[in-house]
Amino acid sequence: MTLLARELIELLPRARRFAWVLTRSREDAEDLLQGAIERALRKASSWQPGTRLDSWLFRIMQNLWRDELRAHRRRAEPLESAAGVAGSDGREETMRHIQTAEASAALAELPEDQRAVIGLVVIEGLSYQQTANILEVPIGTVMSRLARARARLAATLGDDAPRVRAAK
């Protein structure tokens, strides 16, 4: 087993979450993730061991999703409820664990470009430079998108709700 295979397998849960943040649909997320893994395997030689695999894979995912949006001129369907996830294989079980609560709904209200930045910086914890590289935009663009997105999220999620207090 190569280092790439090991790290890709380790990365799958986070990649699945990022796919869901981008698409807001379990089917689209699985399709996107599968497409990204296929492309990553085809381009395996372009990844350098010792560099961050998550940034590399997220960039592939972002590019694929951008192509998909351009090709079909679509937006993702409204946020799915976890209660609506049904079926028999393990992927649904995974998606059940992604809580589609109030915060997820607020995330869904963001424009695509702002949601991607929130997904990378706030949820995945990447740096501004890494995010700029993934999105192929200047770091100043990352900062402005992040500020706009956070202002909107703070307006809807900024109150210290009881559930959040309990989680502290």
Partner: protein
């Protein structure tokens, strides 16, 4: 200093140089509105992270099989195929005495097995009861099975573990009384991520000596259901 949203975001994300960070903190002391906006952003961030956690690994994840198959095919091309020398019996006798002894001398005991090299606790649970691609997190320790191979009627599994910021990978083989680790290797972590300095020639060599190919999910599931006993 005007505390605009971009500045507050950069402060929140630790992206500011120390000097500017200090100026922001000074400004926050006298800017009640800035403090409120900052706290609302921080709260919103926290709620996002709570509501959208990393999902658990998927059992029988078809993407795991895709990765193993896809990378494996490239390995075979790049390395000219695998050479299988001996049976697992010779592996256990040779590698358990030589490889593990050498590794223990270099690194000390790995965190997930006792001095007789029997897997225990979290790692044992994963090895014994979970399909490849499954990850278990408990008690500050995580373990994941990466693949299962079977040859000569015996079974070995490649796994990864992390505990207290230390990560290791190894190969464990099933014996009558449990899983015995025949080789392991320490890997480094960077910012909490699972990251190694390079591929592991040692573990690849061990797997080569075991022989066989990674089991398909259905075959692995059947073997697991039989308690790792070979089919009659």
């Amino acid at each position: 200093m005007e505390l605009n949203d971009e500045l507050l975001c950069a402060y929140l994300d630790g992206e500011l140089e120390p000097e500017i960070r200090g100026r922001v903190e000074s400004a926050l002391e006298t800017d009640a509105g800035g403090r409120v906006r900052l706290e609302r952003m921080r709260t919103a961030d926290q709620r996002l992270r709570v509501d959208i956690p990393v999902p658990p690994a998927v059992n029988d994840d078809p993407l795991v099989q895709m990765i193993l198959k896809g990378v494996g095919e490239r390995d075979a091309v790049g390395r000219g195929g695998r050479v299988y020398w001996h049976t697992l019996g010779s592996l256990a006798a040779g590698l358990a005495g030589i490889v593990v002894g050498w590794l223990l001398a270099m690194y000390g005991s790995p965190p997930t097995y006792s001095v007789d090299n029997r897997a225990r606790s979290t790692l044992h649970t994963v090895l014994e009861s979970r399909p490849s691609g499954s990850r278990l997190d408990e008690g500050g320790e995580s373990a994941i099975v990466l693949l299962t191979i079977s040859a000569q009627g015996q079974v070995c599994r490649l796994y990864g573990t992390t505990r207290a910021g230390r990560a290791s990978e190894g190969v464990a083989c099933r014996e009558r009384d449990g899983w015995r680790i025949v080789a392991w290797e320490s890997v480094t972590t960077l910012s909490g991520d699972y990251r190694a300095a390079g591929a592991s020639p040692l573990l690849d060599a061990v797997l080569d000596r075991v022989g066989g190919e990674p089991l398909a999910p259905a075959d692995e599931q059947a073997l697991l259901a039989r308690g790792w006993r070979p089919a009659k």
